[in-house]
Subunit: 415 residues, 2 copies
């Protein structure tokens, strides 16, 4: 049996077996982005991670131990695919309490994080060549999910009030001429990734009305909604039209990322199909994480942890914006987030944030270039994303100073 | 904006948006199976769940709390998509120790359970119409994953020594005539689900040799391998040819299901693509679960828990087989598992386990009919799966007695 002996791995030995969707899954942007992380001499505004200093690990540890002892047959066992009945009930009352929206149990499910919710949704809706609309710029990962099902992302511009409904109308008309009905529009209305922009209340109402008129399914990612620096947020799209919106709330930024827990609310018909799709992925979101989430919240510790996190991020954001005002060239502009993790910088027209990145690394500062947040057909070279969520407070000013020097050296001129 | 007001959910309102893969995902068999669970007046041999009485919940709780306190920045945070570096190193040494196989770090990754590993693999390999080979009968969930990517499952019969390599050869020839190269063969060599059969050492060597000759990728699910009632198992397929086999080891049955942790070992080229696919699903298997797994094992408690579980299941299996010998009609046959959760019953030729299921429920006994474990083109009506993993020891005999009565009443005649 000679062939067994020669099992040394030739590169690409199994290439003939690859599915057609594989090339669309390969994304250099993400590899580059991940490559920026982890260098110790660099102050990084690149990673969009929550700061573990915001987690109440003693209280989380106590809760984890307790739920295992109280109900090992639930917290350690497989759970139903749409989530534990008690988690679904809990999320319904959570939505009623926080968002004033009343739904039935069949309208909610639990997923293993927000991206998995998008994966399930794309799996049930997207055939090769189908169009999905996204804000331009938008969360890189959302576009990658659609690409992994051979779907096509079409961008809709945003301004300081969020998604432009006029631009959306024009895009839908143009798609209509080509007889393309988009499968859904993905939006992050609160403290958007990457721009830090929040969609205004008026814009939300316009968007929901237009979507309802035109049979456009809306997908609302509220990952940063609880991390607003001011007490009140505009209404969720879901609360404006529960039958036409899928809301995805990850608890990665509010409980902790390793829990891998998000909740989804939307039309029961689609939640049902997403549940079907989840039967053939991880079968259920961790019942242990679900039990921790509920018990942590029941004791009032989720609110305590989120309130603390808001303060931490608000202070860092303030320091960031103050430093930018003082230390960046006057020819640059940036957004002023009212929550979340990100601000979004616009360079003078002739500069290119991707081309500038190596010089920035040499100067000891990392950011994420803007291009990957746009559809490939759109020009995002002038932009870059800065995150203040995962950088030490005392490093913020020095980081901004280095960034200012890099931009100046690239030819923007100093303020 | 009238349309917003009328958001009441018409059934099928979004049906026009469904992807083509949706019909293939809808599987009544699973709904039926899940419907069997949860009735309290019924003794159930249906569910294939581990018994929570085998979990050391005090020790698990202690470990969970400890890993959160020791390294909140790891155990509570996002982790790298292929798994924490320390988990991958740990699994490499675990494989070396238990299976005598030495691999590189690039050959292993961590997934959110065994089914997710299959999902990722099907996603990178299966286009609509592609063929995937499976044992006949095989694990229902594996076939559902392939169907969800519009792939076609072709069954290869097993006998008392496991997968028939002669039948495989014939199937491959027949497919070759149709210019179809199967994307992979999925097998559960140890204490198979649903049959309880273990593939003999000789059969394993024949299978690996044939696969290597014919460029057939093997996928080996070792979900039940650690739960053997006898000390020694035949070698893993992976150890016989690491370059041609993907091994999937879930820790659902050995640590606890809610951890949602499996490890995968295989050709680096494919592990790499599976990692790419995982970036657009749940991004990482829970680092908390990974940390619990490693610390639980480091303290020797994983071995302790598994040794205890083996004893529990071995005793239940013995009671089950003894009861079957005494109480089932002589015209029935069944397998004698040496580990795992299942035995597989063959009824006389004229009986149909699906047709018999309602009468069984009325008699207070549940099992899983055999048909769903076969490809739709194959006849599995004579078979049924009995699980002893999740039934109380003192219910086993009474459950078998009820089953015997039901079979006798259906026309098999008493022993």
């Amino acid at each position: 049996v000679d062939s067994v002996a020669t099992h040394g791995e030739e590169a690409g030995r199994w290439r003939e077996l690859y599915a057609r969707r594989v090339p669309g899954m390969q994304n250099d942007a993400l590899a580059t982005l991940l490559g920026l992380a982890g260098r110790h001499d660099v102050i990084s505004f690149a990673g969009g991670l929550p700061d573990p200093a915001t987690f109440l690990e003693h209280k989380l540890g106590e809760v984890a131990r307790q739920v295992m002892l109280d109900a090992p047959g639930v917290a350690l066992q497989y759970g139903p695919t749409p989530g534990l009945p008690q988690t679904r009930e809990w999320f319904l009352s959570y939505l009623a309490h926080h968002e004033g929206v009343t739904l039935e149990r069949e309208a909610v499910m639990v997923t293993s994080g927000g991206v998995e919710a998008l994966d399930l949704l794309n799996k049930i809706l997207v055939d090769p060549g189908d169009v999905v609309l996204m804000e331009s710029p938008s969360y890189l990962g959302a576009g990658m999910v659609t690409a992994s099902y051979e779907g096509q992302v079409v961008g809709v511009p945003i301004d300081e009030d969020g998604l432009s409904v006029d631009a959306l109308r024009a895009t839908m008309e143009e798609l209509g001429h080509r007889h393309k009905r988009p499968k859904f529009l993905y939006t992050i209305p609160d403290h958007q990734n990457p721009s830090g922009i929040t969609m205004s209340a008026e814009r939300r109402r316009d968007l929901v009305a237009f979507a309802a008129e035109s049979g456009l399914l809306l997908v609302e990612d509220v990952a940063y909604r609880r991390l607003g620096f001011t007490p009140k947020q505009p209404p969720t799209l879901c609360s404006l039209n529960p039958g036409g919106v899928i809301l995805i709330e990850t608890f990665a930024k509010t409980l902790f990322p390793a829990a891998r827990i998000a909740c989804v609310a939307g039309p029961a018909e689609l939640v049902d199909l997403m549940t079907l799709a989840k039967q053939t992925t991880d079968q259920c979101a961790s019942p242990l994480s679900q039990a921790i989430l509920m018990e942590f919240e029941r004791r009032g510790w989720l609110d305590e942890q989120v309130a603390h996190a808001r303060m931490v991020y608000a202070e860092r954001c303030r320091t960031m914006l103050d430093s930018m005002q003082r230390l960046l060239p006057a020819t640059t502009r940036w957004t002023r987030p009212r929550g979340g993790f990100f601000t979004w910088l616009t360079l003078p027209e002739h500069l290119d944030s991707t081309a500038m990145a190596p010089a920035a690394m040499d100067a000891g500062i990392a950011y994420v270039p803007g291009q990957p947040f746009f559809a490939p057909t759109q020009d995002g070279r002038r932009y870059l994303r800065l995150s203040y969520s995962y950088v030490a407070l005392h490093d913020v000013e020095e980081g901004v100073r280095r960034l200012g020097d890099v931009i100046a050296a690239a030819g923007a001129g100093r303020a």
